[in-house]
């Protein structure tokens, strides 16, 4: 039981990190950014390239090296996210919703097969693998790398939350989510805020990518697809556009999967998880924390 909860929370924190990006972007420009899962993949590949170019890293330094790479990757993927927004979404800001949605799908394919063309279609094995002792807490087997990754994920999420609540940029984001035109009239530089939103969302997904690469050890160019869908689901469960909702939704999805697999067997896990999702959304279409007329983001 405790093992299931721990497993669920651990996977859920990956979903949550990616779900945040979906939710922030949707909250601000009402765009389902389907390329977001691929930013996660890109983060893993950028981290892979950086760590491979450094050469052999002594085991004692691996956590330090990983943290440095994590930060660098966040900068790079953040930058790529901004680039995608500038090239693919901004010119279509005032076009019909469908056009932007399809560009997002296009951006997703471009990233996937671009990486496949550059890095090759075969799965890569991450040069640094987080390994450490594990110990038992209340019957759950917990390993040191899991704790390290959970702490990083929680720090990133707490940091993001206070950034949005406390800083003037965060206030601007919330204002645009409420009323874009009004914010523009009040002198907020909307384009700059949107750029920042993409930067932060993509940086978080990139961080999740590096963490997944270092923990699971295998990366490939399609790794962002399924997790992207799951993160999107998590964002919707939590109430899309709501930051805390995205975090909660991610954790809840992880728990649902862990328990679904235990109760009904692996074949039925996704049926169970998404069945619950459908039932939940029919009862509360706005998601856990989403409300119709409140501030978004």
């Amino acid at each position: 039981m405790t093992q299931l909860i721990w497993n669920g929370l651990f996977v859920g924190s990956f979903y949550a990190l990616i779900a945040l990006g979906y939710s922030m972007v949707y909250g601000i420009i009402k765009l389902l950014n389907f390329a977001h899962g691929d930013i996660y993949m890109l983060g893993a590949f950028v981290g892979f390239a950086m760590l491979s170019s450094v050469g052999v890293i002594p085991a004692s330094m691996s956590i330090t090296a990983l943290l440095i790479v994590l930060l660098l990757c966040m900068l790079v993927t953040g930058g790529i996210g901004v680039g995608i927004e500038y090239l693919a979404y901004r010119p279509l800001r005032n076009s019909p919703r469908l056009a932007v949605l399809i560009t997002a799908v296009g951006a997703s394919f471009t990233l996937e097969y671009g990486v496949s063309a550059v890095a090759g279609p075969n799965p890569k094995v991450f040069p640094v693998r987080l390994e450490g002792d594990s110990f038992t807490v209340l019957g759950a087997r917990i390993s040191v790398p899991q704790i390290v990754l959970m702490v990083i994920a929680v720090l990133l999420m707490v940091g993001l939350n206070s950034y949005i609540q406390r800083t003037s940029m965060g206030r601007a984001m919330r204002a645009i989510a409420l009323d874009t035109k009004g914010s523009l009239l009040m002198g907020i530089n909307v384009n700059k805020v949107i750029t920042w939103t993409f930067f932060i969302g993509s940086a978080l997904a990139g961080a999740a990518g590096v963490m997944a690469g270092a923990y699971y050890g295998k990366i490939d160019f399609l790794m962002g697809f399924i997790i992207g869908l799951k993160a999107f689901t998590a964002a919707v469960i939590g109430g899309i556009g709501n930051i805390k909702g995205a975090m909660l939704g991610g954790l809840l999805l992880g728990l649902l999967e862990a328990f679904g697999s235990q109760w009904l067997g692996g074949q039925w896990r996704d049926v169970f998880t998404f069945g619950v999702l459908i039932a939940f959304l029919t009862l509360k279409p706005t998601g856990l924390l989403g409300e119709r007329v409140t501030e978004r983001v």
Binding site: N122, Y216, G217, K218, A258, G266, Q267
Partner: protein
């Protein structure tokens, strides 16, 4: 988008069915007879040349090329040269169907390709419609022959035969309980189901757990948790190496002490890299013969290595044999007419291929699968038990 999902297969199959019945499919109707009776004899092969299975595609391509060159050097077939039309199926049902259509319109007379079962399935009706015999070298799901198409022949062991080999080894190895795990693809599910059936019929080995995972994910902790709970003596994973490597890694770090066996889709050097060398050590595998486990293949291996600069790999021999079997059947049929070639394939008796003298069963599979047990030692797959 994860390309081996059965859903994708279904979509591909429906698309094919629609194409085939739409009536305006000019490219589907010509086919077999179109390459006429002069010029080179075209053999088509839909194999993965991109995507995650691309490395195996290279082994297959080289094996075929080697056979074609050898036969052409001896004067070809019926006085005509053989030529190879390679099309990229990418292990993807949709792309494989398109590739098969292209091969048909190029005037192929026999198909010698087929690696991923899920991607090979939708090509069956396309080649059948064009009256083109298929000699499938690698794909081995029972589903391929279950449709009882007259033009489909398999020269790799089937899932049923692989399951039988797995069960035989489990009993021999003194395993008392087994967990079966597949990835929900046609190929993987097939082996798992057959193994379960065999185990239940046999009765000495208990099935502690039969479960599936979703391919393309990274975290298999819930499956690992289920296995730890069932506590089997052995886990038999019937999916591909990418997920297999992750599962072995995650099982071992969760403290799993039992044995692990994988099916032939996981026999790939990358399995060891993904799982970590220490974790992969001692993992068993059910596998058809590879060049380095066949006795007397040394000259062939050195010829291959000299020609292509790399050693042969999985399915090089089967692909080589597929071309030779095709040539033999065309020779016996004294022409390239599909029905005649089908008949001469059925009549083949004792033609020597790597897995032994060839004779097809009534359902067009090998009479013996030739599966054997490999084990990972020092990071490499080596022969453990030939099961003969």
């Amino acid at each position: 988008m994860k390309l081996r999902l059965p859903r994708a297969v279904a979509v591909g199959a429906v698309a094919v069915a629609m194409l085939a019945t739409s009536g305006c499919s000019g490219i589907l109707s010509g086919g077999g007879g179109k390459s006429a009776d002069s010029g080179p004899i075209k053999l088509a092969a839909v194999i993965p040349m991109s995507g995650s299975s691309a490395p195996t595609g290279v082994y297959m391509k080289n094996g075929m090329q080697m056979a074609v060159d050898e036969i052409n050097a001896k004067g070809g077939v019926l006085g005509r040269q053989l030529s190879l039309d390679l099309e990229d199926g990418a292990c993807d049902p949709t792309q494989a169907a398109a590739a098969a259509n292209k091969a048909v319109s190029n005037g192929a007379v026999v198909s010698v390709g087929g690696y991923c079962s899920g991607a090979t399935l939708p090509t069956l009706p396309i080649f059948a419609k064009a009256n083109i015999p298929m000699i499938i070298p690698a794909a081995n799901s029972q589903d391929l022959v279950n449709q009882k198409l007259p033009n489909v022949f398999m020269i790799n062991g089937t899932g049923t035969q692989q399951a039988a080999a797995a069960v035989k080894f489990m009993a021999k190895d003194g395993v008392k309980s087994v967990a079966l795990m597949d990835d929900n693809t046609s190929y993987s599910k097939d082996i798992a189901t057959e193994t379960k059936k065999d185990l239940q019929a046999d009765g000495t080995v208990k099935v502690a757990l039969a479960t599936s995972v979703t391919a393309g994910e990274s975290d298999y902790s819930s499956a690992v948790h289920d296995i730890m709970g069932a506590n089997p003596d052995m886990l038999y994973w019937t999916g591909y190496y990418q997920e297999g490597g992750l599962i072995i890694n995650q099982l071992k770090s969760a403290g799993y002490k039992g044995k692990i066996m994988v099916a032939d889709g996981s026999v790939d050097p990358s399995l060891v890299k993904i799982a970590g060398a220490a974790n992969a050590e001692g993992v068993f595998a059910t596998m058809t013969q590879t060049p380095d486990t066949i006795k007397g293949a040394e000259t062939w291996i050195s010829d291959y290595t000299k020609k292509f600069g790399t050693a042969p790999g999985p399915y090089s021999t089967q692909s080589y044999d597929a071309v030779r079997v095709a040539a033999e059947a065309i020779t016996q049929a004294k022409g390239t007419d599909g029905a005649a070639v089908n008949k001469s394939l059925e009549a083949i008796n004792g033609f020597k291929i790597f897995s032994g003298p060839l004779k097809f069963t009534p359902e067009h599979t090998l009479s013996s699968g030739g599966f054997q047990i490999l084990v990972i030692q020092g990071g490499k797959f080596v022969l453990k038990d030939a099961l003969s």
